[in-house]
Symmetry: D2
Subunit: 403 residues, 4 copies
């Protein structure tokens, strides 16, 4: 009998694994590690249901890839069984390079490397282990495979990655307005001259998709309390690094998180890869509990605040933050806590939040009309996604220890 496993998923019902290689990859410790990385970092501090994991998201994206490929084949797009498996593996592993708290800590732990580069390093490692079985998957992932639409399904304006994360994040947060109608979008996918596009009658669904995404960004991902928590976490780790430089951190030498924070690794990611795969959210959370008893006041304060959800206030606004306000709030923080002016920067700080709804210049969303013409979503009649909206929206924030 054919290989066949089913996994319950509250979002899609059942996810079917019907390929032994895919099951082996899922069973690999690299992939299992994603169980210990939350998909939405600290968003659960505002949306208590949002504790789902990168593993769950990857499985979901894999499921949507399976559906999308079935749909395209039903429409006459030619695909071999190997290409199907490869596309599924590519999406399954697209996030394998994420570290603790994913985006929230990206570039804090591993300074000069994007998580997608890490994903590729790990895919190469797995490819060695699986004796080249991931060759095509890696070509698709790196967009060197001739059937370009396969890469676009993994990473593009209409990829199954964002279809899943918007759907799943909306589901687990309970923000039902984020629902994107992934099933209709998938039914509307088509391939024209090797490129992924959507049928004409999907126009309103695409608009809905982009608007739901805009809503999820401002209401959830960049929610002021979520942003506050995530920026506090960044500040906390920066403090650890600073104390480390000063020699004021006395930490277990074999703790992988410490090694990365204190610069005790080889400094070459190829060599540090094993160490990296030992990291996950629990290292950060467990250390925060310890640091909440540390002698450094700033470290203790930030750790206790995160541990017990006593978060800094944060205000978003269209204009840059007035420097006077920053100074004033820092003075208050100094008075309240007795820290130095230098250290007050950990308690009062500013930054920018940017969200680009849709950039038509950057590889856009293409509509295939019944008469065979192809147009960009932003240039159809009565387009909702007009010039103004396709520019990125930038907001400025100040985050500060409250009264």
């Amino acid at each position: 009998m054919a290989f066949r496993k089913i996994i319950n998923d509250p979002v899609y019902g059942y996810i079917t694994i019907d390929n032994a290689l895919i099951f082996q990859i899922i069973s690999h410790p690299y992939y299992q590690r994603l169980r210990r990385i939350k998909q939405m970092a600290l968003a659960h501090l505002v949306y208590p249901g949002a504790v789902h994991t990168r593993l769950h998201h990857s499985l979901g994206a894999y499921h949507l890839m399976s559906q999308a490929l079935t749909e395209l084949k039903g429409k006459g797009v030619e695909l071999s069984a190997d290409e199907e498996t490869a596309a599924k593996i590519a999406i399954l592993l697209h996030d394998i390079g994420h570290g603790p708290f994913s985006h929230a800590l990206e570039h804090v732990l591993i300074e000069n490397m994007h998580h997608e580069e890490l994903s590729l390093l790990l895919m190469n490692r797995l490819n060695l282990e699986f004796k080249g079985a991931l060759n095509t998957a890696i070509e698709i992932f790196t967009d060197t495979y001739p059937k370009k639409f396969l890469h676009q399904l993994v990473s593009g304006q209409l990829d199954v990655d964002r279809m899943d994360y918007l759907t799943r994040d909306s589901f687990f947060t309970g923000v039902s307005e984020g629902v994107v109608g992934y099933d209709r979008l998938i039914k509307m996918l088509t391939v024209h001259k090797g490129e992924l596009m959507v049928e004409e009658k999907a126009i309103y669904s695409i608009e809905k998709f982009l608007v739901a995404r805009r809503l999820m960004y401002w209401q959830v991902y960049l929610h002021k309390t979520v942003l506050s928590a995530e920026m506090m976490l960044v500040k906390l780790l920066e403090r650890v690094k600073e104390l480390g430089v000063r020699g004021d951190m006395d930490m277990a030498a074999d703790d992988p998180l410490n090694m990365f924070l204190l610069g005790k690794t080889a400094g070459d990611m190829e060599k540090d890869l094993d160490l990296f795969t030992q990291l996950d959210d629990t290292d950060v959370v467990a250390n925060i509990k310890k640091w909440s008893r540390h002698e450094d006041r700033i470290l203790r304060l930030l750790s206790e605040a995160l541990q017990n959800r006593r978060l800094f206030k944060l205000r978003l606004q269209a204009m840059p933050i007035d420097q006077e306000e920053v100074e004033g709030r820092r003075e208050k923080a100094m008075l309240a806590t007795g820290v130095s002016a230098e250290d007050a920067k950990y308690l009062v700080f500013t930054g920018e939040a940017v969200n680009s709804l849709y950039n038509p210049n950057d590889e856009g969303i293409h509509i295939l009309f019944k008469d065979g013409t192809v147009r960009n979503i932003s240039s159809v009649d009565n387009a909702l996604i007009h010039q103004n909206l396709s520019r990125p929206v930038k907001k400025f924030y100040i985050c500060y220890l409250g009264a």
Copy 2:
């Protein structure tokens, strides 16, 4: 023990009736008639689940009104028990004046009267029967009650009527993208200087609401096949009228539908009201079955087509339909069916479909900011609902007997 009935609703779970007067109104034959009028006319020919009724929609809107009032009271808005009951009655009866196939046949059966005027006539009739118990409800309905926000909940940019119909129509059609997040919108409602508005943090939900509505219009309400069926129904009834004028309709004299179509009523709606309350969808459907055996070729053709879902083709476009195309298609229809040039107008015809997303000039949606200022949704930062979109969108269609 207090009066208490619960009704299962697949959309909201349970609807509670905890007032004896409201239960009496629901039990009245005028209200029960709404069971026999489909909410979405002929949309079920495309979306087979869309067979829900005006009665169900009214109950749903009543439920949302109950929730909205509870929410507003929780925020300190003053409301007496009588005002609450009145607002609930007003929404319960807002659609009582709809005739067969609601909007699709509005102005075809009852030529010079809008369904809201008919609703008012029927509310007055009920008020007599219930000895003035509907006085306040009628004031709210006609916007003569001092607390203006109560009328705005019944009829306005953010009324519970459209919250329910968008939610319910989306639910029963299975067009999940039409979901509007009514629960969050209701949580965000507030009253400022007697007017209904929403809190600042609802901005993205409002945008989502307007975009979902836009999608429902073009994808569902004005779906080309739905539009075709509904316009064919209009043509069919026009044909009946024409044959009646010619004396070619031999119909039962006591059939209420016939009486309205053939102008055999008193011609004064006050007097015709009893007759009107005997009309519902089944009169039309049952007569169509008879007409499909009628000797008039046009009447038979339209009736059979509607009965068996063999619908005319319909094309929507941005530009007016070329008259040459119309003539060409009429000639083809004449050849195919043997009807006269005059009669071919029933088989090939044109029209316009209009949808206004949001009109900021007409009483807009107001946002109450935390600092107490009030702004229109179309003038906030990075507004999605820009100038361009707030103009009504008009499309032109041609509907014709296919090859």
Copy 3:
């Protein structure tokens, strides 16, 4: 490009039709007639959402058949493309023989024929029209096809018919407790020695399925108010027949419903089949409106009551109804309405409601254990579905004009 239509379904998302013959059958007037027959007869008088149609249910069952066949093929069961199509056609047409108000009026309109026999007559008629393309479908439907499990999927303890109606009726009534987990059941289906059975790990799902069915029967299908309405409808049509025999019904001679009720048809179903296919719910509803103005007091009373939902009271109990109570209530009804003792039988009457949860003697549900043994669900360890419960449950009712 391959044939491909998708239909929105609120229950399953999308239903795909990818076969031209199946689309032709769906487009046939015989099938389109099912749009005008409600799946749950008068249950909508209690559950206002329950207005879905036989057409919708048949499409849903077709969808589940497609899923079940895909699942079985995935498990190595051999099936040709023709067999697949045939099984799908068989389920699509399984209810084509239902008349107005389906079960509620079965044997009232067409006295000596079960709806399945009518379905077969109509399938044969379609088979002629489609030049034998339905041969295999008819063999599956009549259980004469060698692969017995195909018939069991159409009609058996685990058929997709009841999976769909329980799921769909639960969905549209809003009785969420009736949810049966059809997706898991389908994933657990298997074929052993040509017979349909379920895998061992489905035991609890099967129990849940049977208990949900029990709940749906007593809470929905046999709800006392639903039962009252449906029995009143039966009495009403019996009255029409009686008046017809007496010559007191003056009805349009060409009205198909009248012809069946007054015995004016050929009396041979083969010959009456065309007439039968003109019947649907609207004939009954439209006539009830007319009969509510009829001179016969009983007919008028029952018609008005049904039209305006002023239903008789009904009480279910474990013991037969005491004849004294019946007599007492009839006397009251005579006093209240002035009808004769003979006619009071239309206003006060008794009956039985029977529901069999699961009958293990009658072709049971078989479990295929991992070790290859097969056992009946009622004989596994700690069986919930024990001896006692597998007996049919009979309840007695009295239905009467209330005070």
Copy 4:
């Protein structure tokens, strides 16, 4: 304006907090700790969505308590505002005494104390801090408050605790068959002579509730793979204790988990309470990562297996496990791993899993009939919950390192 916070919940939509004291309790570190304790321990290894927390469950149970109290008041049950708040606090804190991995590790970390006793200790501690504001809540929790039904809502056959956990666990695992219809159950609650019971028409819902619970136990909570993982975790911690006794564990002295495992606490829970409130799931997970590099082979093997989801096989059966099988499997494990006969007990072991569906002797579920009589659910006509089923079901299992 009144105090008012809303929290998004994917299960119920929105949870409203409208009381400042309740918000303070939720904000307390004791309560926030529940964010770091998974509701379903290791069930997420089988059901990847099941990563929701004790905090989320407690909030959900609080929400259902609010609904239940509103319903009861609507039915005329007298309740003061203080009693309402107290009942809500009692349910909010009912699980506050859970330690890491809740039930899975109960009695392993804290040997002689049930989590409910710990909850009470912590509630007393909070009561001191809040200056007696929790007095009534504690009386309700300990069943010393005169209105007994309030305690029954917190802990009893129909408490909101199990209504929430069955609903929530079903939701997050995606096992839709576990849905219990909490909303209908709550609508059916009533109070008779001070005791909580349900109305007659809830009988089928109650049956459904008990059967859904039975399904959740065998299909989810006692799923063989979940049971395997949780028993492996128990064995792992037992190994740590054993190594500790032997002096072979060299662990950080200030690690709270180590202190409990190695018996370095005061040994008096009143005194150890602060230490206890520092424990959560992350301590266990972070330590497992360290132990997977420990020199002890057994500890390393169990840690690696849990970390990478390479779980032991487990078989459940009706009869006790044959001792010969145990011996045989131990010998194999010794050969495969080179451990001693003594240590092989960590790799091959047996146990019992027990689930009691419903015990009618133990305070049962009472039905209040319309005629005022009260009967136990197991003694109504055609009871599904018969004698046989109300006995606890015991299964035996063997868990072993696979080939």
